[in-house]
Amino acid sequence: MTARNLVTEAQNTWCPGCGNFVIQFALKNAIQALEKEGVELDRIVLVTGIGCHAKMADYLNINSFYSIHGRTLPVATAIKMANPDLVVLVCAGDGDCYAEGLDHLIFAAKRNTDITLIVHNNRVYGLTTGQYTPTSPLGFKGRSTPGGTVEEPFNPLEIMLASGATYVARGCTRRMDLLQKAILDGIHHPGFAFIDVLQVCASYFNLSDYYDARVYEIKDHDEGDFEAACRKAREFDYNEDAPIGLGTLYRTTRPTLEERLASVRGTEKDRSATIRKVLEKRA
């Protein structure tokens, strides 16, 4: 295996100062760390949705499935079901994953499929030029809500805890060190790993100073305690001012979708024999 440049020659079109650069670096470093551990790069597959985040599929020189808006998780789940030896990474946006594809998010957590989801949560629609998302704060003035939004954001971490995610973490593009650790921890986690990444949108919702003043590294927290995880998740509700903890909120294990599927699958490989058997039964 020749050493591979992990970045393609595709021209990068993210805005200067975009938080996506930080996520890209963190992801690239995590992939390099995996390679050092002996994971062949050819076994890694990246699935993306549609939005600024999704350009990651063009920029990283690994197997990729550039899917459509909101539809990362069914693709990623199927890839993992088909071949559990693959390491399946998903990059999705907040509009992508919390609005258009929320149903798939809840089901991915419920199924505990062994994939890692990184949500580029910039709390605004960037590519469509600045509309509110499910995590924009109440009163957010976007181009579809010039008078301010009239609904509270929801808290994705609470949704994930309620849906059965076995790894729940938060990162922020203002703290790449913690983000990189969360991504690598998520990939190592045997089950559905969810990482909400508070990402700065330089053009439409630049919260750099806001996050700098409030983020802190989660310490002295029992990751295995579900109730403690819920309390930690509720500390910041994506609306009111509060300290914003970064790191792992919850970690547990239960059988994955792939493991459970393997235990109920038939073993016959001969198609003609199967067809013959069916027809005999029906004669």
Binding site: A82, T267, A283
Partner: protein, 550 residues
């Protein structure tokens, strides 16, 4: 007379479908070819369900306007179907709940004496029918043994009581041929997909293809096949594409409403060139329509579903053998040409039961395209003469495999360049031309009946069965395009050579096949439509064709 029709009716929960199957198998054992139509409303308990089983010496795929026996578990079975009865029709009924003339059996009393549950009333009345029709007890016993995995002894006991309580009123002759498998259209599709190399079946339940999901799940209990039922049809389609990306040959199944949700994924299949097979079972629309009733009103939806332009295969098989053959071909073609394939069927075909001659070895094998060579220079969307690129699946040594729903270059990286966009559009067009060429080699148009006749019936899909018989009775030519996209224009024109009067028979109100043919310069003279959710009966269609020809 070697053509019998038996109607069995009761309320939902009485086991009418399985009783119909047992009657079909009785005739099957006697050497008849059988067809069963099952009519049921969208509810779980109560209501009125009925099955019409038809048995004949010849291969059949339709029901008639008259029945020889009515087996009534409820009063509606007598009252609702008087138009199908004549003075010759024998009623066999439950005297504990039904008023009629004919052969009465006291089901309530018999079930009580035998300690049997109410659902076994159907076994009892089948016993009475066998006696009335002069079918030997041994034949019935064998059919019960083969078809009833549960509570066989008690079912046999109850059937025997029915048998003993009835009297013989005719003797149905045994014919020569040996029994055939009796399978549903859904099962024929499932077997065809298995023949074509299916690795995975993904579906969300929806009539009339839910039973295909159940059938594939049954196969997956012993066969190495992935069957999965996710949260909705959007996930179904996207999972299928994820599976296709890693090389798993995948089919999905649904009906119109579910297919609406799949169309964004269908378009992604067209753009990303990931193969997928869609089994689209039509039912009465628009919207929820009549969920358990039939229609042929989604042809144009299937032809045009999904934004943008991309080649697709649309095939509409007309009977169980065609369903098996073309499901295998649809999967193979989808895979070799990297296009979505749609198998357009309907409630009549999906949930009808047919005597089945396995086409197995006669199904063509589509020639495989080169797979492309792995390595750092691999291009998932390489431009070729046929437009078909070598398709590899991850993981592949030292190879990056990128698929993309955006306009992309040959490596699969997004582009918005004008020249590349044109080039890739032309690549997909070329693939469409290669696909049309392939289709033309596969006998994509059926021609039957009096093939030299001027007067010609045109049909597509499940009306094949009834049109076949009408064509044969009236000495008409019958032409059935089995592939509707890419439309095999030349093969259709060849099949219509010398035809003067074209009559299109369709179960929709717009005449969708006629509209499609008109676009290709083929003008239909007369159209016969039915759009009440019920399939044409033989004598009904014959009368309507006579009206047109008069």
């Amino acid at each position: 007379m070697e053509d019998f029709s038996i109607l069995i009716g009761g309320k939902a929960g009485d086991g009418i479908n399985s009783a119909g199957m047992v009657i079909a198998h009785l005739f099957n054992r006697l050497g008849y070819r059988v067809y069963m139509y099952f009519d049921y409303p969208s509810l779980i308990k109560g209501g009125h369900n009925y099955a019409i089983v038809r048995a004949s010496r010849e291969r059949i795929g339709s029901h008639r306007d008259r029945v020889d026996f009515v087996l009534a578990l409820n009063q509606e079975s007598v009252d609702f179907h008087k138009s199908l009865c004549s003075g010759e029709t024998v009623h066999i009924f439950d005297i504990s709940g039904v008023r009629a003339d004919g052969i009465g059996v006291n089901l309530k009393e018999i079930l009580k004496e035998e300690g049997a549950p109410p659902v076994m009333g159907n076994s009892c009345i089948i016993g009475a029918f066998a006696r009335a029709a002069g079918i030997e007890w041994a034949v019935l016993e064998e059919v019960f043994r083969r078809q009833m995995p549960k509570a066989l002894a008690l079912n046999l006991k109850v059937a025997r009581r029915g048998f003993d309580a009835a009297r013989e009123c005719c003797r149905i002759q045994m014919l020569g041929p040996s029994p055939l498998p009796v399978i549903s259209g859904n099962e024929a599709i499932g077997l065809g997909l298995m023949h074509g190399g299916l690795d995975a079946y993904i579906a969300y339940p929806m009539t009339p293809t839910s039973n295909l999901l159940h059938f594939m799940a049954e196969i997956a209990e012993t066969h190495d096949l992935l069957v999965f039922h996710p949260e909705n049809e959007i996930a179904v389609m996207l999972m299928a594409l994820g599976l296709g990306y890693v090389g798993k040959k995948t089919a999905v199944g649904t009906s119109g409403g579910g297919f609406c949700l799949m169309t964004e994924g269908l378009s992604l299949s067209g753009m990303s060139e990931i193969p997928v097979v869609v089994v689209l079972g039509q039912r009465t629309g628009p919207s929820t329509g009549m969920p358990t009733y039939t229609a042929q009103s989604d042809l144009h939806f299937a032809l045009h579903a999904g934004q943008g332009e991309y080649p697709r295969l649309v095939t509409a098989p007309g009977d169980a053998e065609q369903a098996c053959t073309w499901s295998s071909l649809a999967l193979q073609i989808s895979w070799e040409y990297q296009v979505p394939s749609l198998i357009l069927c309907d409630k009549t075909l999906c949930e009808g039961f047919f005597s089945f001659i396995d086409p197995g070895d006669t199904i063509p094998r589509i020639k495989e395209y080169p797979k492309g060579s792995a390595g750092p220079g691999y291009l998932r969307y390489q431009i070729t003469d046929t437009g078909v690129s070598g398709m590899l699946y991850p993981p592949m040594n030292d190879t990056v495999i990128k698929v993309n729903g955006y306009t992309h270059d040959q490596a699969g990286i997004t582009t918005e360049r004008a020249d590349l966009s044109s080039l890739m559009t032309e690549k997909r067009q070329k693939k469409g031309a290669a696909l049309a060429e392939e289709v033309s080699r596969l006998n994509p148009v059926g021609i039957e009946g009096e093939t030299g006749a001027d007067q010609t019936l045109l049909c597509w899909g499940s009306t094949l069965g009834v049109c076949r018989e009408v064509a044969s009775r009236m000495a008409l030519r019958l032409v059935q395009p089995i592939v509707l996209s890419p439309l095999p224009e030349k093969a259709v024109q060849d099949a219509l050579q010398g035809a003067e009067k074209l009559i299109a028979v369709e179960e929709n109100s717009d005449g969708q096949l006629a509209m499609l043919l008109a676009r290709h310069g083929i003008v239909v003279d007369n159209q016969i439509h039915r759009y009440d959710g019920r399939p044409f009966a033989l004598e009904e269609l014959e009368a309507r064709v006579k009206e047109v020809l008069a």
